[in-house]
Symmetry: C2
Subunit: 620 residues, 2 copies
């Protein structure tokens, strides 16, 4: 298996299958081993299929009036076809060939516009081309993208993990422009793209953390097109609200918060220009102030939102209380701590954008709101703790288990131990809430050793997204990604170095285990790409990266601005995970932080690695 | 980490720990990095500790009046010790040294006899010896044992898995002879060993399958001493009944059935002589006919046993029925199908031993009983199915889930899909019960694809020993080990080859995953050793092995009789898992079975391997 081809031998049936693909088209080659007649069944799941004597066309219905169209041409004309038309559930046609046909070649195009466009995509990309021509073109395209970061040194598994992760970071979002047009499920219409590809299927709650920042670093032009697509979607939808979770079939408003605004700010502060900043601000402000903050909802704001904007936190229900607010999703619930913390960060981002746009009143309003996480901080316990509508903490309370399925009654997918660290936009303030750096580091230590406290079956049946555990820490879901880097803020960078190496070694594996949980189309993978090259964007929306434990002896990053960043980590290995000393462009570096614009100038970041912690490196 | 030494660096405390060991003694070297005073806490858990100015002695209470004694001498005399005596729960003494003592060396002996013997063990084995002398001796000892099977070719992971498994196959049982004496928890006395080591801690329910057969193949003398220890235990206990699950602390009678008798038969038919066959038979017969068959019990037989011996099956209770038989363990329950099938095999073994001893009436009685599994075969479903005391199948019934925790109400640890194959002593009859080879193979196929049918949390919380799933098959527990080999009996050896390679590749891993479940001190590991060299003893008690998919290009087995068995598997790899052709000592081999005595003559077993199944090999 490669990014551009797949081969499988089906041993029971004795059939070899080769597959390679282009952008909106692909080719199958099937080799039949048995001395029997040959047949292929095409099934539309739910839709329509037609056979015209040389080609098969049709579509599958997706949700929200979206259809995916197919146009398929077998190179060998079938001896018979079961029918000329099929429609409905499991609509299928059977194409049959005599047993002398040991080899079949099937080319097809797909489209979200119509069958004619599917045919055009097929003809433009794969008609008249051989399997190997198509595969070679795919190989070249992937080599171009993946060689934007070249690594050497490190173990073979490290390299496989790295390039697999970099590959996965290209999985989403996808351009659905076809010959200059695209079907938008956001308004159900076909649009001209005016020469600028339209992207969708961006799982923003997951991707704002590392996925977008990675693209800003190595693929800024594409990132601008993606952000421009966010704004097009906002315009196409009924309200001018930033998308929350844009998919092929429109905005599913999945998860909580409106973190697209963080991504827009991140691009802005890092100097990306080719999108409309004022529109970005207004769409973000609309999503946060006019749309409900209730998770998984695109409804207008209601009672819950009024409460949040007035009181500065989302009120929680006790187990015994029945939900009365209509826009709260019955399974997803209020997630009051997650929404309060997440919206604090979103509002901090609005504040920064307002400042850039000279909107001082808005800046002040949103800066004030950016401290809302404080309203749920429990000084007694040092955790973020749900409050009822009267402002009283829900008691008694267990941060490990409370909140029901996925802790959604209070947090969201992960438990209180993970949300304890969910203030990426103001870590100094979180440190001070916790009582200073020493206590903050002790709290981090405690998370990594606190036992599950239940059988794994009981724990995971309630918290199925909270896997990849080291203590109560979960390596399997995006709210955790920045946590191991937080030791850097508390004067103990050696523990960040230790945790990053051991967590990745334990949970991201070139074997059966693969990734430990919710990969989310690049969400976890881009954490790996950053972490393996040696630094990480803990706070998207700022230009700061923080340094972890670089995996490779040499890394060369093509910054896309004509400059290259080289990272050397001398003697780096799993044992030699500790930074002994560092320099940037010849100047000694004793800080665990480095700025985006400094890196974008290119040059050489050099680390000396060793097998014992240098507890004084990186504490300046 | 090696079999004879362990090193760990404790990064938080900045202490390096080196550990190496001899037979009944060991040595710790501790290096302290921090500039602080040094202390070691010794904790007896529950027992007594004394400090006499140069040595620390004492014991920990185990169960059943068994104590493990300690005698420890620090090379550097402590500056202070917290007390001269401590006893009771968590009895502990703290030994302290000034901070100049950056390195500590602690030698200790252990004993099950007394502290004096612990001291003698220390003095005999490690006194006056350096860390490296002790480690080197351990290394040499392990190299001698592990080089009884030499492998080459195969992947690095294959080799690591192989030698790790071979190492683990030596984990149990253990010789507890100390200077010619041993403490037996079977009668609470110290015995002379008369020059023959006494072994215990043999988990027979797990080890009779592959673990004992492996030792018969490469370490027959030790196996004879182990079987002789079974007979000594039988004599030492109140009744002359074969042990079921002998541990350091006596026979815990764990699990079900009395499979020690299979092991004794297996040794006998394979020509091992140095144990008393008549005693073996009588002890086995006693355990099966006079002791209860209720799982986890050493009580005399009762009502349930009377029923079994008269009716030929253990009756099951419906969920609504309350247990009334006192010897049935409240958690372990009756396991009626597992006990009926397991006892059929045990009684078949008694029949074979009776025949060897010329006891024809016994032979006939037990041969008749050896078909008792037929009494629970459900022709309608093709599964072994629990019956109530009136002989009616329990209905309705789900072979996946029914039986409560660990399916113990009906089976035991694994579900009805695994126990479907639990007639290793009469596979031709099982094939015929199922309606012939084709149906038998279809039933095997079905097991590997039948979905769990529940969330993994729900499934594993009920069947925590039924992990390592491929469909309903569980690679994680011993009742499954022979199942992938059963295709050989149905004329489809290529599927055995495929399953063995893919199951081992998926579930026994040189990485974080390790082994998939209940390793049981060599139980699973010896399955790996056999399977990787290329054959397996599906029916202990016969001299037949069946051939799987050899992993290594070359294997050389020292048979201990002056002869060597070489196994060549040309071109073997994960892809080339299929046997194309085979020969033994130059003669073409087209059977998937080979006899123990043929192998013990030594010589060369040669396989040609390939990446496509040869569906006609091995069907003679």
């Amino acid at each position: 298996i490669t990014p551009y081809s797949y081969y499988v031998y089906l041993d029971e049936a004795d059939i070899s299958v080769d597959y390679t693909l282009s952008h909106q088209s692909a080719i199958y080659e099937l080799n039949f081993g048995k001395d029997e007649d040959v047949a292929v069944i095409l099934n539309s799941r739910n839709g329509e299929l037609n056979w015209d004597g040389t080609a098969l066309s049709g579509y599958q219905n997706l949700v929200n009036n979206t259809k995916v169209y197919l146009y398929l041409v077998p190179e060998q004309t079938p001896e018979s076809v079961s029918d000329t038309h099929a429609s409905g559930r499991n609509a299928n046609l059977v194409l049959s060939w005599p047993k002398e046909n040991k080899k079949l070649t099937l080319r097809y195009g797909i489209s979200f516009i119509d069958e004619m466009q599917a045919r055009k995509n097929l003809e433009r990309e794969v008609s008249g081309k051989s399997y190997s021509e198509i595969a070679d073109a795919g190989r070249e395209l992937w080599n171009t993208e993946l060689s934007k970061i070249e690594v050497s040194g490190g173990s073979e598994d490290d390299k496989v993990l790295f390039y697999t992760s970099l590959y996965r970071s290209y999985e989403r979002p996808v351009s659905i422009s076809e010959d200059g047009r695209y079907f938008s499920a956001f308004d159900g219409k076909v649009h001209e793209d005016f020469g600028r590809p339209f992207y969708t299927d961006d799982w923003i709650w997951d991707s704002y953390r590392a996925h977008h920042p990675l693209r800003i670093l190595i693929d800024a032009k594409r990132e601008e097109d993606i952000l421009n697509s966010f704004l097009l979607m906002s315009e196409q939808m009924d309200n001018f609200w930033l998308p929350t979770f844009p998919e092929i079939t429109g905005d599913s408003r999945r998860m909580n918060s409106n973190h697209g605004v963080i991504t827009l700010l991140d691009a802005h502060v890092k100097g990306l220009k080719n999108f409309d900043l004022e529109k970005a601000y207004l769409a973000g402000k609309g999503a946060i102030m006019e749309k409900t903050l209730a998770p998984w909802s695109g409804a207008p704001s209601g009672e819950l939102d009024k409460f949040y904007h007035e009181k500065g936190f989302i009120p929680a229900l006790r187990d015994s209380e029945v939900e009365t607010i209509p826009e709260v999703h019955s399974f997803e619930r209020r997630q009051p701590v997650a929404v309060t913390l997440g919206t604090s960060y979103d509002q901090w981002s609005l504040a920064q954008l307002a400042k850039s746009l000279g909107l001082n009143d808005d800046y002040e309003y949103f800066m004030n709101a950016s401290y809302n996480y404080r309203n749920l901080y429990n000084k007694e316990t040092g955790f973020f703790h749900p409050k009822d509508k009267n402002g009283n903490f829900i008691q008694p309370f267990d941060y490990r288990y409370d909140g029901g399925m996925g802790a959604r009654g209070y947090y969201g997918e992960n438990n209180g131990w993970v949300y304890r660290w969910d203030v990426p936009h103001n870590i100094p303030d979180l440190i001070s809430l916790m009582g200073g750096k020493k206590q903050f580091a002790n709290n981090l230590d405690a998370m990594f050793v606190e036992p599950l406290g239940k059988s794994k079956y009981a724990f995971y049946s309630e918290l199925p997204d909270h896997t990849g555990n080291v203590g109560q820490f979960s390596m399997a879901n995006e709210p955790s990604l920045h946590i191991p880097y937080l030791y850097n803020y508390a004067g103990e960078p050696w523990k960040t170095q230790k945790r990053i190496r051991t967590l990745i070694n334990q949970w991201f594996r070139n074997d059966l285990m693969g990734v430990p949980g919710d990969e989310d189309g690049g969400g976890l993978s881009s954490f790996i790409v950053f972490s393996q090259i040696g630094f990480y964007p803990v706070t998207p929306g700022t230009t700061e990266y923080t340094i972890g434990s670089p995996f490779f002896e040499k890394v060369k990053v093509n910054l896309g601005n004509g400059k290259y960043l080289e990272i050397e980590a001398k003697n780096s290995s799993f044992e030699n995970k500790y930074i002994q000393s560092a320099s940037f462009n010849g100047k000694s570096l004793n800080s665990a932080f480095i700025d985006h614009f400094d890196l974008m100038e290119g040059g050489k970041l050099v680390f000396e690695m060793g097998n014992r912690a240098n507890r004084s490196w990186g504490i300046e």
